[in-house]
C-alpha cells in the first residue's frame, strides 16, 4: 500500500502549523537520545548564600567537552522583565566549546550578563538568559529551608523555577558560526546545542534552589525531591523573533516538516502492527490526557483549543479502545482517516505525534535528515524559462494565487525590524509609519505579484532576462525554485493578513523544539515549558523514552 504524503496546501496553512505538537522527532528528545551516554559533571559551583555567583556544568565524551557557564546575578524586582527590552536577568548562560580556562571565565563574566550588547567568541556556541519565577523560587526555598517539600499544586500551575527569555546560537553576537561545528556527528540535528544549554540550565536551577535553602537553614533544610525536580522543566517566553526564522530558512523548514510527513506516511503503510506497539500507542494517548488537563493558560484562544482537543482526544480514545481492531490491516492508516473525518486539526496533529512513539526504526533515520545545507539551493537557475516558473507557481501556490491583496484586510500588516532591539515586529501598515522599510516576509503577496508579472511575459523568456527588469521580485523567484524541489518549504498562507495569528508561526517552531503547554500571552508572544518530565542528568543512561507521557 502506498500512502501519499499529505498535501502541503493543507499542512502548511498557519492554523495547521499552529496545531503541531512535540513528537519523537522533536529536538529536545533527540538531544537526550544523542547525549544519554555522555558523562555529565558539575565542574564548578561557587554561589553565595543568596545564590549569586558562577557555576559550570559539562557533558564529556572522549576528547569532546561542552561546558555550560552560568552567572547568577542579583536584580531588583522592577528590573525583571521577559521582554526583549530588558537589560538585566536573574541568570545568564553560555555554552562553551571545551573546558573554559580561567581567562575564558573572566572574559565571559564581563560579556555573558550583557547578552545582546556583549561580545562572545568562536569558542562559545550558544547564549541565553533567564528570569526566576519569583513566586515559585521563593516558595521552594522557603519550604526546603524549613525542612519540607514545596506545594505540588503550586508547582504544577507554573511548571518551572526559571524561564529563559531568549536562546541564541549560530553566529549571533560573535558566537561560533555553524560551519565551524556542523561536521560533528553528535550535533547532526537542528538546535541540538540550544537544547543542551536549556537542559543544563534546568539542572542549575535545582542546584541553586537547594544551595540557597541549605545556607539559609543548614540544620533543617532538605533537598528538593528528585521526583519533583523531574516534573519541573524550564519555562521560555517567546516573541516574534522566532517567526521570520521559518520564512528565512525554507529548506530547513521543509526538512523538518518533510520528516514528520514521511514518518506519518510510513506508519500508515505498516500492514500489521504488533500488540506491543499498539499498546504503547494507546498508553501514550491515555496518559497524555493529564498533559492536556494540566495545561494552564488564561488565553481564551488557547483555552478553546485545549477544550476541543480534550473533547476530541477522549472521543478518539473511546474509538480506539472500543470498536477499533488493531489486528486489521494498515491500522494506522484507518486511524488517520478516522481522525481526519471526526476530529479537529489540533487533535489530528496531536495523535499524529503520538503515532511515532512505538516506531524507532522509522523515526531515528529521519532525525538525521532534519538539518539542511541551505547554501546549496541559494543560486537561481536562471537558464530556466518563464513557462517553467509559471507552472511551478500554479502547482505549488494554488491557494495563495486566489488571495486578493487589493483588499485592505489581506494586506493589513507589515513585518519590520525595530531599531532599538534589532528584533522583528508586526504592525498595521495603514496606521503606523515604517511600511516602506518592510522586511521580505510577505511571501504570499510577493508571489502573487510575481505571478501577475509573468502572465504578461513571454513564456519562452529565460529567467536571467526576466530578472534584468524585475529585480524587486528576485527574492520570490529564488523561493519559487526552492519550493519546486522542497514541497514543505513555504507557509501556504498570508502572513500579513488582518487575521494572521503570529503565534501559529512560533508554535510550529516550538513544537519541533519539543515544547509543551503553549500559553499564549497575546497573539504575538507566548510562554512554554521545556524538559518538564524529562530524565535528570544522572538518569540519562537508562531512561523511559516515553517520559513526556509517563511522568
Amino acid at each position: 500500500m502506498n500512502v501519499k504524503l499529505r498535501d502541503p496546501n493543507i499542512i502548511m496553512k498557519l492554523s495547521r502549523l499552529g496545531s503541531f505538537h512535540q513528537s519523537r522527532l522533536s529536538f529536545l528528545r533527540s538531544f537526550l537520545d544523542e547525549f544519554k551516554n555522555w558523562d555529565f559533571n558539575k565542574n564548578l559551583f561557587e554561589l553565595d548564600k543568596n545564590g549569586y555567583g558562577i557555576a559550570v556544568y559539562s557533558f564529556k565524551k572522549k576528547d569532546r567537552v561542552y561546558s555550560l557557564v552560568c552567572f547568577a546575578n542579583e536584580i531588583n524586582d522592577d528590573e525583571r522583565s521577559d521582554r526583549v527590552i530588558a537589560t538585566k536577568w536573574d541568570a545568564a548562560f553560555t555554552l562553551h566549546d571545551g573546558i573554559p580556562s580561567k581567562k575564558d571565565i573572566q572574559r565571559l563574566r564581563n560579556e555573558v550578563p550583557k547578552q545582546e550588547i556583549g561580545r562572545l567568541s568562536y569558542k562559545e556556541l550558544t547564549l541565553s538568559r533567564a528570569n526566576k519565577s519569583v513566586r515559585i523560587f521563593n516558595h521552594v526555598v522557603d519550604s526546603l529551608s524549613n525542612g519540607f517539600q514545596p506545594s505540588l499544586d503550586l508547582l504544577e500551575k507554573v511548571g518551572y523555577l526559571y524561564r529563559t527569555t531568549a536562546v541564541y546560537g549560530s553566529g549571533k553576537f560573535g558566537l561560533a558560526d555553524r560551519f565551524r561545528i556542523k561536521n560533528r556527528e553528535e550535533i547532526n540535528g537542528p538546535f541540538r546545542l540550544e537544547m543542551m544549554l536549556v537542559y543544563l540550565v534546568r539542572q542549575f536551577t535545582f542546584d541553586q534552589v537547594n544551595h540557597v535553602a541549605k545556607l539559609r537553614n543548614p540544620k533543617k533544610a532538605v533537598k528538593l525531591d528528585k521526583k519533583i525536580c523531574k516534573n519541573l522543566g524550564i519555562g521560555n517566553s517567546t516573541g516574534l523573533g522566532m517567526a521570520p526564522f521559518i520564512v528565512n530558512h525554507p529548506t530547513l523548514l521543509n526538512n523538518w516538516i518533510f520528516c514528520r510527513e514521511t514518518a506519518l506516511k510510513e506508519i500508515r503503510e505498516i500492514k500489521k502492527v504488533n500488540k506491543k506497539d499498539s499498546d504503547l500507542f494507546k498508553n501514550c494517548v491515555r496518559n497524555s490526557i493529564k498533559n492536556i488537563t494540566s495545561w494552564n493558560t488564561e488565553s481564551q484562544y488557547q483555552l478553546k483549543k485545549i477544550k476541543n482537543l480534550l473533547k476530541d482526544v477522549r472521543k478518539f480514545l473511546n474509538f480506539v479502545e472500543g470498536e477499533f481492531n488493531f489486528e486489521t490491516d494498515y491500522p494506522f492508516n484507518k486511524i488517520y482517516l478516522w481522525l481526519e473525518k471526526e476530529t479537529c486539526e489540533e487533535c489530528i496533529e496531536y495523535i499524529v505525534s503520538i503515532m511515532m512513539e512505538p516506531f524507532d526504526t522509522i523515526i531515528k533515520p529521519l532525525i538525521k535528515k532534519m538539518s539542511s545545507d541551505e547554501e546549496k539551493y541559494f543560486d537561481i537557475p536562471t537558464y530556466r524559462t518563464i513557462k517553467d516558473l509559471k507552472k511551478i507557481i500554479e502547482k505549488k501556490y494554488p491557494n495563495i494565487l486566489s488571495i486578493n491583496f487589493d483588499i485592505e484586510e489581506n494586506n493589513k500588516k507589515f513585518w519590520f525590524i525595530s531599531k532599538n532591539k534589532e528584533e522583528p515586529r508586526l504592525a498595521d501598515r495603514f496606521k503606523e509609519k515604517g511600511a516602506n522599510l518592510e522586511q521580505p516576509l510577505a511571501i504570499a503577496r510577493d508571489i502573487k505579484k510575481l505571478y501577475k508579472k509573468i502572465l504578461k511575459t513571454k513564456s519562452n523568456f529565460t529567467i536571467d532576462k526576466f530578472l534584468i527588469d524585475n529585480s524587486d521580485l528576485r527574492h520570490v523567484v529564488r523561493r519559487a525554485f526552492i519550493v519546486e524541489k522542497f514541497p514543505y518549504s513555504e507557509i501556504q498562507d498570508n502572513t500579513i493578513s488582518e487575521k494572521t495569528i503570529p503565534i501559529d508561526m512560533l508554535r510550529l517552531k516550538l513544537s519541533f523544539f519539543g515544547a509543551l503547554k503553549f500559553d499564549p500571552r497575546s497573539d504575538k508572544w507566548l510562554r512554554i515549558c521545556m524538559f518538564q518530565g524529562a530524565p535528570l542528568p544522572n538518569e540519562l543512561k537508562n531512561y523511559d523514552e516515553q517520559w513526556v507521557y509517563n511522568t
Partner: protein
C-alpha cells in the same frame, strides 16, 4: 570577532538600505560572507562603495557582451555581478569577456567565484598585473597581496578556462607507475576466485 552570520545579515540589510532590491541584497550578503571567509576585505569595501554610490551613479549593464564599454562612470560591481551570475550560461561560450572599467572590483569577485561553481569551470580575472583564479567557489588564487584593493579596475578581462589537467602526461604516468606498487599480481588462482564474474560470459 564578527561571525560570518553577522557579516551576512548586516551586509544584506545595508545593501537594501542603499537601494538594492531584497533579492539582490541577499546575494550581496552571501558574497561578503564569502569574501571574508576567504580572508578578503569585503566589509571594508562594501561600506565604502555603498557610501560612494549615494553620490555617484555608477553604470549598470543589462546584458553582458564580449566587450562592455562604459558611457560615463565605471560599472557598478554589484549590478554587473548579478548580470554576470544570472547570464553565466549564455555568456560562457564567449570564452573571453572584457569590461573597460569596474568600480570596486573586489565586490565583483564573489560573483565570479559563484559563477565558476555553476558552470564547473575555472575562471580567470585579470586587470593590470593582477590575476585572480576562481576554482569552483572552493578557493581563490591570486598574485595580489596588497592590503588595499583598487577602487577601480581598468581593462578587465575575464576568461573561462577549459577543464584541463594541471600536469603533463609524463608527470601523470610517473605517479601512476608508483601507485601500481600497491597492486597485487594476479595468479591463475586469483583470476578464478577473487572476482565475481566468470572468465567467459557468452551465454
Amino acid at each position: 570577532m564578527r561571525s560570518l552570520s553577522e557579516i551576512e545579515t548586516t551586509s544584506k540589510r545595508a545593501s537594501r538600505a542603499a537601494g538594492y532590491s531584497w533579492g539582490i541584497s541577499e546575494d550581496v550578503g552571501k558574497n561578503i560572507r564569502l569574501l571574508e571567509l576567504f580572508g578578503l576585505p569585503g566589509i571594508k569595501y562594501l561600506d565604502q562603495y555603498l557610501k560612494k554610490k549615494r553620490k555617484k551613479k555608477f553604470e549598470i549593464l543589462k546584458l553582458i557582451n564580449r566587450n562592455n564599454k562604459k558611457i560615463n562612470l565605471a560599472f557598478c560591481p554589484i549590478n554587473i555581478g548579478v548580470s554576470f551570475l544570472d547570464q553565466i550560461k549564455t555568456i560562457e561560450p564567449l570564452k573571453k569577456i572584457k569590461f573597460d572599467e569596474i568600480a570596486y572590483p573586489i565586490l565583483f569577485i564573489p560573483f565570479l567565484s559563484r559563477s565558476s561553481e555553476i558552470i564547473g569551470k575555472k575562471i580567470l580575472l585579470k586587470f593590470g598585473k593582477n590575476e585572480f583564479l576562481f576554482n569552483f567557489n572552493q578557493n581563490i588564487l591570486t598574485n595580489y597581496f596588497k592590503k588595499q584593493f583598487p577602487i577601480k579596475a581598468q581593462n578587465v578581462e575575464i576568461k573561462f578556462l577549459e577543464n584541463k589537467n594541471n600536469f603533463t602526461s609524463s608527470e601523470w604516468k610517473s605517479l601512476y607507475k608508483l601507485s601500481e606498487k600497491t597492486f597485487v599480481d594476479e595468479t591463475d588462482s586469483l583470476k578464478h576466485g577473487a572476482a565475481g564474474a566468470g572468465l567467459t560470459d557468452n551465454d
